[in-house]
């Protein structure tokens, strides 16, 4: 989720936040990027900086006390967005016999339920292909599972938590996203659960940096499209996100947030737009009568947006050379729909495709402007709008490359929508 245009670069807000969070130490995070040498340490004490988190002074003695501070199982991280709830669950695989005996029945049942199914209820889904194997977290080894369900099914989830006596496990449930605030009281009253609420942008960045650092085998976490402007030669290629700063992080959920990230602890929200994944789905539902993201995408893949949009060549008969506008560029999204005849001749698939193209291109152009204003050349797109949405990713890659004349590179991450939830889990394991 995201909002319109708030830019956060003031340094006054930090005072409220710094006491509640401190970063992990680098030692604990194998493969974690080193921040610029000395940049943090060199900052004079007490100086107000625009960083969201300021220092890591308390982190260094943590490794000794890992065991002591390790929270009890189960380990969850949750991100409750406007449309989807994202849940990550760490399944320990190194459980000793002693532990097995001590493990309470509730805990065992939750673990079995989550790991033996790939679908929960009517709408819950475990993204098995994203599962991370043999991960070491807080000295424990196990698998990280990625689960999602629609936010409107949260009551069913809470009911399940109540039925399984989740509250008896005395675990802290770390949650981020707007829903952590909106549904806090529901968690308490319906499931007797106390939420530990976390800032969604903090979690997002923490999650992105962590996942990218721990994925070493299997498909590369970060990738890009080679030859984005040539459809026939456009292929997905792995990308090593070493020394990633500065980067522009564009999170496309129901809405869009655009963050400029200068270091692990230094970022600002540049702007956002309300034209996001929610807009795509909302308009598709109204225009085509579909009801799910998958349906909408399926229709879009079959449609032709040029029947709906008015192109530059529709107006000028070809390129508008005076301004370097190619004939194929969209001059007016849905512009052909001003004509009654054309409205009657387009298919639902065409409309779905045009909606997808409109929203995607718009995100692309706002992103490009932010990159120029912030002087950043690398853009990482995340968020569930991109899930199974190669069309949009290729469009974004194309738009970044074409309009910047090759200056901007669009990068994508495999765990596109789960970073907030991962960040929340990390907060549970390494509380600030």
């Amino acid at each position: 989720m995201a909002f319109n245009g708030h830019q956060r670069d003031d340094d006054t807000v930090d005072e409220d936040e710094t006491p509640t969070k401190q970063p992990r130490s680098n030692k604990e995070m194998p493969g974690y990027f080193r921040s610029e040498p000395g940049s943090e340490a060199a900052a004079p004490a007490g100086r107000a900086t625009p960083d969201r988190r300021s220092s890591n002074a308390t982190a260094r003695h943590r490794s000794d006390s890992v065991k002591k501070t390790r929270p009890p199982f189960p380990w969850f991280g949750m991100d409750i967005g406007g449309t989807l709830v994202k849940l990550v669950y760490f399944e320990p695989k190194d459980i000793t016999a002693e532990e097995e005996q001590e493990e309470v029945e509730n805990l065992k049942s939750i673990r079995r339920y989550l790991t033996s199914n790939t679908a929960y209820g009517k709408t819950g889904i475990r993204d098995v292909h994203l599962q991370l194997q043999d991960l070491t977290l807080c000295g424990r080894t196990g698998n990280l599972h990625f689960i999602r369900f629609p936010t409107h099914d949260l009551p069913a989830f809470l009911q399940m938590g109540r039925n399984k006596h989740f509250s008896s496990l005395h675990t802290t449930l770390c949650a981020t996203g707007g829903g952590a605030y909106k549904f806090e009281s529901d968690f308490r009253t319906m499931a007797d659960l106390q939420l530990h609420k976390l800032d969604e942008l903090d979690c997002l960045i923490r999650g992105v940096l962590y996942i990218d650092s721990v994925v070493s085998s299997g498909p590369s976490e970060c990738y890009y499209f080679e030859n984005p402007t040539e459809p026939d030669r456009c292929v997905q290629k792995p990308y090593t996100l070493e020394n990633p700063y500065p980067l522009l992080l564009v999170n496309i959920g129901s809405g869009v947030s655009i963050l400029a990230v200068y270091s692990e602890n230094n970022y600002k929200r540049v702007t956002g737009t309300s034209l996001g994944g929610g807009t795509f789905l909302g308009l598709c539902c109204l225009l085509t009568g579909c009801s799910t993201f998958e349906e909408a995408l399926e229709m879009a893949s079959l449609g032709e947006s040029t029947r709906v949009d008015k192109l530059v060549r529709d107006i000028y008969g070809g390129d508008y050379e005076r301004f370097g506008l190619p004939g194929w560029a969209v001059a007016s999204s849905f512009g052909n729909m001003m004509s009654k005849e054309k409205r009657e001749s387009v298919s639902k698939e065409d409309l779905a495709r045009a909606t997808l193209v409109t929203i995607t291109n718009n995100i692309g152009s706002i992103t490009r402007m932010c990159a120029l204003n912030e002087n950043i050349e690398r853009v990482v797109f995340v968020g569930n709008f991109l899930r199974v949405n190669t069309l949009s990713m290729k469009l974004l890659a194309y738009a970044m490359d074409y309009w910047s004349k090759g200056q901007l590179k669009a990068l994508f991450l495999r765990h596109e929508g789960y970073f907030g939830a991962v960040g929340a889990l990390l907060e549970l394991l390494h509380p600030s």
Binding site: G5, L283, M369
Partner: protein, 737 residues
Amino acid sequence: MAECSGIDSNPSSHTMDKSITLPPDEIFRNLENAKRFAIDIGTWELKTFGIIAASDKLYEISVQEEVTARLHFIKFENAYIETCLDFIKDHLVNTETKVIKATGGGAHKFKELIERKLGLKVDKEDEMTCLIKGCNFVLKNIPHEAFVYAKHADSEFRFQTTNPDIFPYLLVNIGSGVSIVKVEAEDKFERIGGSSIGGGTFWGLGALLTKTKRFDELLQLASKGQHTNVDMLVKDIYGGSYGCLGLTGDLIASSFGKSATADKEFSKEDMAKSLLHMISNDIGQLACLYAKLHNLSRVYFGGFFIRGHPVTMHTITYSINFFTKGEVQALFLRHEGYLGAIGAFLKGAEEDNPNQYSWGENYAGSSGLMSVSPDMNPMQRARSGTFDMLEMDRLERQLVNLPLLQDPSSYIPDTVDLTEDALAREYWLYCFEEALDGVVKRAVASQPDMLEAALRAEKFRQKYRHKLQTLRHQPFAYGSLTVRSLLDTREHCLNEFNFPDPYSKIKQRENDVALKYYQKAVKSLEELSWEERQFALVRGVLAGNVFDWGAKAVSDVLESDPEFGFEEAKRQLEDNSGVDIILGVMPFVRELLSRGTEVVLASNSGPALNDVTNGELQILTERIAAMDPVIQAGLRDDRLMLVQSGSSSPCLDLSRLDKVLAMVVRERQTDLVIIEGMGRAIHTNYYAMLSCESLKMAVIKNSWLADRLGGKLFSVVFKYEVPAGKPSQDCETSTPS
């Protein structure tokens, strides 16, 4: 350069009001003297048709034969293109024209039709070039062209003062798509970006969602809807605000985010509103990003999406305020719909070098902003047969700032802005309506030999009354409403019905009488002591100032008592002098000259009420010089100069003065400016700050105004000002009056 082709032979065609339904041939018949034309054809909306016509004026008395070239622009619907072309064929093609300039997306589509109908070659001009040319033109030439829109303010429209320094600026043109153009100089501009989400998206997507076909109807729907039923707000996700980012709960997090469901119905109004917000916010955001990247603070919005629609101006303004936190203001243009046509026309007239002229909006011939109010009749604005017009009079001179203005960029000529002051507005509108009978009578009397004068005067009455009524409902129709604009509108309406100078006879009669008294008056002044004489001179100027037919209090007396004259006026002021210029100003000038002071006497370029024009003043001064060696020597030695002000108004805009006057002021290092008269020193320039000493003098000839200023009718204003930091000095100077 305009070739006049005789008096407009069909004054009856003037009777229509320019923004109501009319047979198109009548609209076009107006333009029989047209010399040159250009056309702007939108893809599917209105066309604008620009034409230059020469109309010469009936002007019996002055030695000048004033010929005014006038630019006419007409906006009309596609349906009338053929009628328009027929008219052009019948009336214009017999000139040497071989090529017609055309622009707009539709130029492409109608090229063949135009070429076939007219046998002319269509010369397509680049749309954006024309748009920018037109934009530069209106920003430079039309006062109060740009405005800020504030829906909930006392006056929705806040007009910007004209600043000759218009560059650089950003023009965001919202047509079916959006073009964002950075303009750095007259011929230097660049399309720096754009967006495909524009007016076409609102219209196309809106038509799909609501089954409502017309753009205006969609806007109507939107103005009634609740976007919160369709949009996902921050509070829908957070339950409240997202405090640590400072995002309030009412912000839209995801446009149409609530409609992502198959089992709920949404109202047309709500969807239209949500769509309008989505598109306006998106355009506003992009505009801000571009403005920031290019470091520009002036951002103008235009295109059919804006075109005077309060709904879209409001949402765009809101978006700009939000994204820039108030640092950038969204600016709109009164004549935004004419830019392409103006630009195309100027392209065609390039060999004439339009920059050597100045232009003024003719209030009589132009339909105002929102000529048909969307609130009064929402559906009428785009109904077939609606014509919008803009007419501009060309002055063969360039108008510039008075070099002595302390801060030209903040100078506002008018003392009271009637768009903001409702009480004053009511009074003055009433006042002008009350005075109308007298003006009509005067107009008829001024042309005793012309039989149809009464008919024309009646048409003038209808037209001006209608203008006043329009202004009562839409004070913003022609920019800021001021006493000056009301006076100017009356002059323009009189002109339109061939009463260019209803007072010429009276002026002549008065001048003749006054000339007889001149020598006597000078003699009696010379007999006074120096100090007595100074008082007498000032009283003389002020007494002369009473002879003002524009002021109702005075004209009532003058009309009712034909014997009332100079003697009465002087008694009223308890002293003695002559009729304004001859017995008031000239002796004053004479005194200055005899002290060795150089005097620049500035007067109107064209007639307005009974104010003396430069042409008349030339003749009068020569006649006086024949009687008076002091004046004669002054003229001979170039110590007395008569210069035209560039104005044809009873008021004075010091930011639009004749270039020659400005040059003289600079060359002669003028160090005192005297402004005389109610129109020039009270209604305008009362608060004007000059960089040299100034003297503003007038008699308050209006009881309401006298009350407002805390005085009585016929009180005297004598305002001597020394700019801060300058020591007061003796007046050793010249006096534009």
